[in-house]
């Protein structure tokens, strides 16, 4: 396939957009993407997107963080050079544990937060010199755009999207 056609249906209200998404799903048109200037509550559910697993990642990263902190301080303070510092008992990790808790806590949060953010960037393909993928400049300001792949009768689809309250319907050749 050298090229495929997509329809860009533009809306100027998020409620209209939500209705349009629901109708489109009902009519079994495949929604490629929706571009909005701000998060529209419930849009992911209406589009039928799978829930995110980012929180599960964060939990695992937190577990790694606390393990790193525990191993690090056990190795440094108990295993490698168990000095008597101000009478604190460095005979075993457990005996001196209260002193290590602040570090363990911070490391857990640090790992969970930073690795989760990095995971987010990687999964959403975001980085500093990334070329913006914006089909229409107005979608970052006050317009909502739904991108639907064309299959079958093009004219009928245009009419369908005009009917959903779109302020503008375009057919684009996507390379």
């Amino acid at each position: 396939m050298s090229s495929t056609k997509v329809i860009y249906a533009l809306y100027n209200d998020d409620d209209v957009l939500m209705d349009a998404v629901k109708q489109t799903r009902k009519a079994h048109h495949h929604i490629e993407e929706v571009f909005t200037p701000f998060p529209v509550h419930g849009l992911d559910k209406a589009m039928g997107l799978a829930p995110t697993r980012l929180a599960i990642c964060a939990f695992i990263y937190g577990c790694i963080g606390i393990s790193v902190a525990t191993w690090m301080m056990w190795n440094i303070m108990i295993n490698d050079w168990p000095q008597d510092i101000g009478g604190k008992p460095s005979f075993s990790y457990l005996q001196n544990m209260p002193a290590f808790v602040p570090v363990m806590f911070e490391m857990t949060v640090f790992f969970a937060a930073h690795l989760m953010v990095i995971t987010f960037y990687m999964r959403s393909r975001l980085w500093p010199f990334k070329k913006a993928e914006n089909p229409d400049v107005r979608t970052t300001d006050d317009h909502f755009l739904m991108e639907v792949s064309v299959s079958g009768d093009e004219e009928a689809m245009i009419a369908f999207f005009k009917n959903t309250g779109a302020v503008e319907v375009k057919v684009i050749e996507k390379h």
Partner: protein, 507 residues
């Protein structure tokens, strides 16, 4: 309108009856005379000669209040050796035990005393007749044993009273914050706080009983504590007697209980009046009342924690204690709201409560559990780290004599709810929320147990008939009063300005 199911009512009566029988049994079975205690102590020692049991008792006895023991206790071998030596000379064992034990309620241990306790010194150096020392030790144990049923009653009573206060504080916060999700739960909260007047009266009775010397819960109330020259004289308590004296103390208690009850009474009255009103005047009244109450509450709560719990250890003080106690009963109050809501919902009474409301309550249970842990740890770690003898005794007694409840409370109140309620989906599943709730409530009972028991019964603690029946009695009473109050008004307020939002709350 809610109707009190006959089965629940019967269960409540059974709990009350069982509890009462157990409480009375607890009081009847405490030793009355020195001779009884002699027998008990002798039996404990006899057992000990065979195995390690008796050694352990003696050990915990002498570590009871010697702060300098802390480092010592860290090394089990050294500790056991000391214990064995103590056991060898019977009289000396009593002697050291006595020294340590009285110290827990008298002076913070001077360095020499601690040394004496550690290395067994010949008798004559002590200038104390072993017979007299033995008698004093037995008397000390007798006081602890006689305190047991009282302390059990006190813990259960204050726990249920403060659970109600937790719910009341949460209710006031919801009003002031103009929360849009919670108005459908207001009647449930009001139902729970209906226990407040009943609980206050019983608790005030207990405070009066302590003041009338019916028990030895508060050592600073003993005769002669503030009289120089008296054998009971305690300079530290005498120095605090401007604050810790019965008259001022009981007046403070009366003011706090009255203030809380007044807020509850008028808040509910206004809420019911708002149902029938044609404008929002009563709603606004409640808003102002709640804001005022919250200011009064945070001051009275802090002082309440010093008066009713911290003063059981009159030599010890901690700055964040009031907040710590607050976190403990606040999370219990929220958990109780959640559990009563789930019960009523399962019986089909709460039409507008959906899983999002449960989800919100679970988030609060989770968050405040972590908050409790934060304060628990902050208090523990600061004292552990600096290890100043005069304040570290508090934790030494708890770690040595209450090892399982002390660390177990952290598991029940932090680890378990943290791992179960961290998952978003789990926060909506009734069986999981109920399980976490039961664990949290049990854990915070243990938390109050840990705060009160070491000061009143010391190492003579046991979760036995007295403790369990006291909880059963107050649980039965709580269920009876709360569910009876729920039948008195419709479960959904009619004209709250945030009612519509709350009915359609969705998260």
């Amino acid at each position: 309108m809610y109707t009190f199911s006959q089965r629940l009512k019967t269960s409540a009566f059974i709990l009350i009856a069982l509890g009462l029988v157990g409480i009375v049994y607890g009081f009847l079975s405490t030793p009355k005379t020195i001779e009884d205690v002699e027998k008990i102590v002798a039996a404990a020692h006899h057992e000990g000669h065979g195995g390690h049991g008796g050694h352990a008792t003696a050990a915990s006895h002498d570590t009871h209040a010697t702060p300098n023991h802390e480092a010592h206790a860290a090394k089990p071998e050294a500790h056991q050796e000391a214990t064995h030596k103590t056991e060898d000379a019977h009289a000396v064992s009593h002697d050291t035990t006595h020294l340590a034990a009285t110290d827990s309620i008298a002076q913070p241990v001077a360095p020499e005393t601690a040394k004496k306790t550690l290395s067994v010194v010949p008798k004559k150096e002590k200038h104390i007749d072993p017979a007299v020392a033995h008698k004093e030790h037995i008397e000390h144990v007798m006081h602890q044993l006689q305190n047991k049923p009282w302390a059990a009653l006190y813990v259960a009573c204050i726990f249920f009273l403060l659970v109600t206060m937790g719910a009341l504080a949460f209710y006031a916060i919801q009003q002031v914050a103009q929360a849009g999700w919670s108005p459908v739960l207001f009647r449930v909260m009001q139902g729970i706080t209906a226990y407040l007047p009943v609980g206050s009266i019983i608790f005030f009775g207990l405070l009066l009983a302590s003041g009338l010397h019916m028990n030895h819960l508060f050592t600073w109330m003993e005769d002669g504590v503030t009289k120089p020259g008296s054998p009971n004289y305690d300079a530290l308590i005498d120095g605090k007697s401007g604050y810790l004296n019965f008259g001022f103390w009981i007046i403070r208690a009366a003011i706090f209980l009255l203030g809380w009850n007044l807020y509850r009474y008028f808040s509910r009255k206004n809420c019911l009046a708002q149902d029938e009103a044609s404008d929002d005047a009563y709603y606004k009244k409640n808003f102002k009342l709640s804001a005022t109450f919250l200011v009064f509450f945070i001051v009275s709560e802090s002082i309440m924690a010093w008066d009713w719990i911290m003063s059981l250890d009159p030599h010890w003080f901690s700055t964040l204690f009031g907040w710590y106690v607050f976190a403990s009963f606040f999370v219990s109050g929220i958990t109780t709201i959640s559990m009563v809501t789930l019960y009523l919902k399962s019986k089909g009474y709460l039409e507008y409560v959906n899983s999002s409301h449960i989800h919100d309550l679970s988030k609060f249970m989770f968050g405040i559990s972590v908050f409790w842990t934060y304060l628990w740890f902050s208090q523990f770690m600061l004292i552990w780290y600096a290890n100043i003898p005069e304040e570290v005794t508090y934790f030494v007694t708890r770690i040595n004599d209450y090892t399982l409840p002390f660390w177990g409370a952290v598991g029940l109140n932090f680890v378990f709810p943290f791992l179960t309620l961290i998952n978003t989906d789990f926060k909506r599943v009734a069986p999981i929320v109920v399980t976490a709730g039961v664990v949290i409530l049990f854990g915070h009972y243990i938390d109050f147990f840990n705060m009160i028991m070491p000061a009143t019964v010391g190492d003579q603690w046991f979760i036995g008939v007295s403790e369990i029946s006291s909880v059963l009695f107050f649980l039965g009473l709580f269920i009876l009063v709360v569910f009876n109050a729920l039948t008195k008004a419709p479960l959904t307020p009619k004209r709250n300005p945030f009612m519509e939002e709350s009915k359609h709350f969705h998260y």
